[in-house]
């Protein structure tokens, strides 16, 4: 009885991931080998990091469109700095500078977003949409549209290497997710974030400043986008203004499938990570099965709908509003 209760309290997303994974192992030819699993894991890293960042903004009922565009900007700027073809010739210093610049770019645009949203009270939807255009435009201006290549070999090793079947990149992604998990669950800021997301006014009157909290959420989301840029650059070994163009739906999908409420105030980072893995796995498995991509798009759309419906039903049962 007790075990049953415990099993029931596990969030649905874990079951889906587990069931889907096992089913894929059994039924999908070519899926059940270590190399394939390693590829699967390395594919999911960028999505995990971005989803974690955007998750924070969704927690206070907002959204961050800029993060996908930042993926493009950071990879081309960072890539051009650390490239062996660049002015610094791919030295160790260039590498470090490149990484730093990428994170700072993310931070910078996070600050711009956060500032506009909290100071001018602009809806995040529009602000981040506008900054997305601007960031994408800047990336295009910076490169003229061409890709950036010639990553230093150390960086290439980092991008391709792995321990057993766990790519280094995954370790970065899990690290980011872990930090985000700790931030949301164990820290003062995390508690403030949930409070603001649940009831803006009550939080304000209880001495939690929504402005500061929301600002921090967007800054963190920006930083996550910067780190995601690094992982992307390492994974792809080239920077391109094209990155992230079609990723936003997957990011929102991960968050929603993970059971986060788009109205704010509720949702766990761990579930979002699971959501990202699930979305990634669906993509991969359907690809391997040779399903046309438009069906994959369609199926992902349906899964978002179904997941959101289920989430609402569960909430209805849990909390009598």
């Amino acid at each position: 009885m007790n075990t049953l209760k415990k099993l029931k309290s596990i969030d649905a997303i874990y079951w889906f991931v587990a069931v889907f994974f096992i089913a894929a192992l059994v039924f999908v030819p070519g899926f059940a080998n270590l190399a394939a699993l390693e590829r699967l894991l390395s594919q999911g890293c960028v999505l995990i990091i971005l989803a974690c960042g955007v998750h924070l903004t969704v927690l206070n009922g907002g959204v961050d469109f800029t993060s996908t565009a930042l993926l493009a900007l950071t990879t081309v700027v960072g890539g051009s700095i650390m490239s062996t073809k660049g002015p610094l010739g791919g030295s160790a210093g260039a590498l470090i500078l490149g990484l730093l610049v990428m994170v700072l770019l993310g931070l910078g645009f996070g600050i711009i977003n956060g500032f506009s949203i909290t100071t001018f009270k602009m809806p995040s939807f529009i602000v981040t949409m506008a900054t997305q255009m601007i960031v994408n435009g800047l990336a295009v201006v910076y490169t003229g549209g061409s890709s950036v290549t010639g990553m230093p070999s150390a960086f290439a090793k980092f991008g391709k290497g792995s321990i057993f079947i766990f790519p280094y990149l995954l370790i970065v992604a899990v690290g980011v997710a872990l930090v985000m998990h700790i931030i949301t669950t164990k820290t003062l800021f995390g508690r403030q974030l949930y409070a603001v997301g649940t009831n803006h006014k009550a939080a304000l009157i209880s001495g939690v400043s929504p402005r500061k909290t929301i600002f921090k959420a967007y800054v963190l989301s920006g930083v996550c986008a910067g780190i995601a840029g690094i992982v992307m650059l390492a994974y792809m070994q080239s920077g391109s203004v094209n990155y992230g163009a079609t990723m936003f739906n997957d990011i929102m999908g991960s968050i929603i499938v993970g059971g986060t409420s788009p109205a704010g105030g509720r949702g766990k980072i761990a579930n979002t990570v699971m959501g990202a893995l699930l979305i990634n796995m669906i993509d991969s498995v359907l690809n391997i099965l040779g399903i046309p991509y438009y069906f994959i798009t369609l199926i992902k759309g349906l899964i978002i709908l179904v997941a959101a419906s289920i989430d609402l039903i569960r909430m209805d049962r849990k909390v009598a509003r």
Partner: protein
């Protein structure tokens, strides 16, 4: 929230000026933009060019009108672009494969859009999922369906669509008349019918509306349905305009439509916005940016940045006076 009665003296004047600026800030930006472009290229401000901008605006303008309905009930519809795509494909199929006359094709795509809109409305009102998520999902679904129907290839439309695209009355494109017609009808529906006023009521306070005996869910449902139907018309119109439906048809247009609507005075928080002149101002402003940049021969690279900055500024001016919750 409550209006503070202004005191006499200078502060009041300053305040009034500030309020005036905020109320008409969008127009200030619009005028500044027009002046800028006109100085750079005097033929920017000619009747011909203004009509051209109107014409270019008309397709997405119709979708904008639809978006107004949804925004008024405090919703949002991300799926507009893909709704346009699949409706255009359906309309195009009627035209090409079944050889139907053009009006029938318009009815077909309008119905297709209506169905997508109804699906959105169903999930928003019955299942009560946040509209952003519902429409994000239907975006994917509609896109998948459209790509499936076209087999991911270009779809050429029968040449007779050109007659509509080039049709002119009094030297003004038929498109402009269709757009203005839709705006006028929508304006009348929103301001002079009970349904229209109920839309505003639902956007202001949905629970209250339900208690008042307004069928809130049904009203909201209709808003999505109307938005869908208008997107269907916009999609087919766009297809007629281009003569072809590419696989990337209207991709990304949801952002143009939403930002134009917000610039035009609709609020993401619902209950606010006038289709006339809001929808026209909004979409014309966005299209005028592109027109102006092309006219002054700007570098291709600055287009998105410029557009982003203008949207940012326009919304900023509109938001400063906003006193609600930050989202």
């Amino acid at each position: 929230m409550e209006k503070v009665t202004a005191r006499a003296g200078k502060t009041a004047d300053g305040k009034r000026a500030k309020e005036l600026f905020m109320d008409y800030g969008i127009y200030v930006i619009l005028i500044a933009m027009i002046v800028f472009f006109t100085v750079q290229k005097p033929n920017f401000l000619t009747i011909g060019n203004i009509l051209l901008i109107l014409r270019t605006s008309s397709v997405l303008g119709i979708a904008c009108v639809g978006m107004f309905f949804v925004l008024i009930v405090a919703g949002i519809d991300i799926s507009v672009s893909m709704n346009m795509y699949i409706s255009a494909v359906v309309g195009g199929t009627f035209l090409n494969n079944l050889g139907m006359p053009l009006p029938v094709c318009f009815v077909a795509s309008c119905l297709c859009g209506l169905v997508i809109g109804s699906i959105n409305g169903f999930f928003v009102t019955k299942v009560k999922i946040v509209p952003f998520i519902v429409t994000l999902a239907t975006y994917s679904v509609a896109r998948g369906m459209a790509l499936f129907l076209t087999n991911q290839q270009m779809m050429f439309l029968d040449n007779k669509v050109m007659t509509l695209a080039s049709a002119k009355f009094l030297g003004i494109s038929a498109f402009v008349f269709i757009f203005l017609g839709v705006v006028v009808i929508a304006h009348i529906v929103l301001t002079c019918t009970q349904f229209g006023r109920q839309l505003y009521a639902c956007g202001n306070n949905l629970q209250g509306a339900n208690k008042m005996g307004i069928n809130g869910p049904r009203t909201v449902f209709f808003a999505y349905m109307i938005c869908g139907a208008l997107c269907g018309i916009a999609g087919m119109l766009s297809a007629c305009n281009l003569g072809v439906i590419n696989p990337n048809f209207s991709q990304g247009d949801e952002f143009v439509v939403i930002s134009s609507s917000v610039i035009g005075g609709a609020s993401l928080f619902g209950g606010k916005g006038r289709v006339f002149p809001g929808a026209i101002i909004g979409i014309v402003m966005v299209q005028a940016i592109i027109n102006g940049l092309t006219m002054i021969g700007a570098s291709a690279y600055v287009y998105t940045i410029f557009r982003g900055v203008i949207i940012f500024l326009a919304v900023m001016v509109d938001s400063i006076k906003f006193s609600g919750e930050i989202r």
